[in-house]
């Protein structure tokens, strides 16, 4: 009986420890959608995003190599990386560092779907701006899946040009971030 209680206690402790450890993934994804009625081409995806979540502190972060965004159209990808747009040679990385602001509402040790609010800073094209968004966190065993979407104003990050002014590229593209931590 004592052994059984000890085993249960150990299992519980292990789960709790695991649930509180910083988790990372290198297979998070970011979708970027700047399509308009005039142009369906400016959208891309990056499936090699590095992301982390710390259930104990609520710290969340992601990093993306800008040149890892893949477009279906080569010309659009060239424009995206060019000096006039994201200038990925000068600014090769996009990062987000933030915090879950309602951490008490998320129980990482218990299976369930939780709504979180996240506040942080997005750095892109040499500019850093605050981002406030909501995220869905699904806890299933040892896995934690987070999904969030938000829009950014390209002008906040000094990304401007004729295509944006002409309505061919959305001024406030939608960003979707999905990260699955195992």
């Amino acid at each position: 009986m004592k052994k059984t209680i000890m085993l249960f206690a150990l299992a519980g402790f292990t789960t709790l420890t695991f649930a509180q450890k910083k988790k990372t993934t290198t297979a998070a994804s970011i979708s970027f959608d700047a399509t308009t009625l005039l142009d369906a081409l400016p959208k891309a995806e990056n499936k090699t995003v590095v992301a982390s979540i710390n259930p104990k502190t609520g710290d969340v972060a992601f990093e993306s190599i800008v040149k890892s965004f893949t477009f279906s159209n080569p010309m659009m990808q060239d424009h995206f990386n060019s000096a006039k747009w994201l200038d990925s040679e000068k600014y090769p990385k996009a990062t987000f560092k933030g915090k879950i602001t309602n951490l008490a509402a998320v129980n990482f040790a218990k299976d369930g779907t939780y709504n979180a609010t996240v506040a942080g800073d997005l750095s892109l094209h040499g500019a850093t701006k605050p981002v406030n968004t909501t995220a869905t966190i699904v806890v299933k065993g040892k896995e934690v899946k987070t999904t969030t979407d938000f829009t950014i104003k390209l002008s906040d990050y000094a990304v401007e040009g004729g295509a944006i002014a002409g309505g061919k590229v959305a001024t406030d593209p939608k960003i979707i971030v999905v990260a699955n931590f195992k």
């Binding site: 290198t26 297979a27 590095v50 992301a51 990093e63 190599i65 040149k67 279906s72 159209n73 080569p74």
Partner: protein, 161 residues
């Protein structure tokens, strides 16, 4: 009177001929413009399988070059088709994403390979430790503050059998 009428007639004929020429040239330019635009906007990336590798390199050598100086390594490798030989360190499967990693265990420097949709199935049989060659487009490398190591990304990859 007759003379004037004749002059007017030939003048009119000349004008009509010029209008016709301008119209034909304009239409030709329009057709060429539409064709060029159609070609540019419907263009897609070539299958990596059909592209020749610019560089062939061992995974650990590639990581070392990025760790030594990622700015000079980025100039050398980024946006080039590269064939990388090495051992599978990890396979990360998330929903429809399957990424293969090659890691230098002494520094944790990591190469991340994302695959072409048509070649994802080839990765399913890969196991940790398998010695393979992967061809893809290098997206460059940066220092990851999250992983505290150098990471190098590849896109549009396929496993070379």
């Amino acid at each position: 009177m007759y003379f004037n009428f004749y002059n007017m007639f030939t003048e009119h004929k000349k004008k009509t001929r010029w209008v016709k020429r301008i119209f034909i040239i304009g239409a030709l330019f329009l057709v060429i413009g539409v064709l060029v635009a159609w070609f540019i906007f419907t263009d897609t990336f070539d299958d990596t399988n059909k592209q020749k590798a610019n560089i062939e390199i061992n995974a650990l050598d590639l990581i070392k070059q990025f760790e030594t100086s990622d700015s000079s390594a980025n100039k050398k490798f980024t946006e080039k088709i590269i064939l990388v030989r090495g051992r599978v360190s990890e396979t990360e499967i998330v929903d429809s994403i399957i990424n293969i990693k090659m890691i230098d265990t002494t520094t944790n420097g990591t190469i991340l390979f994302a695959f072409q949709q048509q070649n994802i199935n080839d990765t399913k049989s890969l196991k940790v430790g398998d010695s393979i060659a992967i061809k893809g487009s290098c997206s460059g490398g940066v220092y990851s503050e999250i992983l505290e190591t150098e990471i190098i990304n590849f896109k549009r990859c396929l496993v070379i059998k």
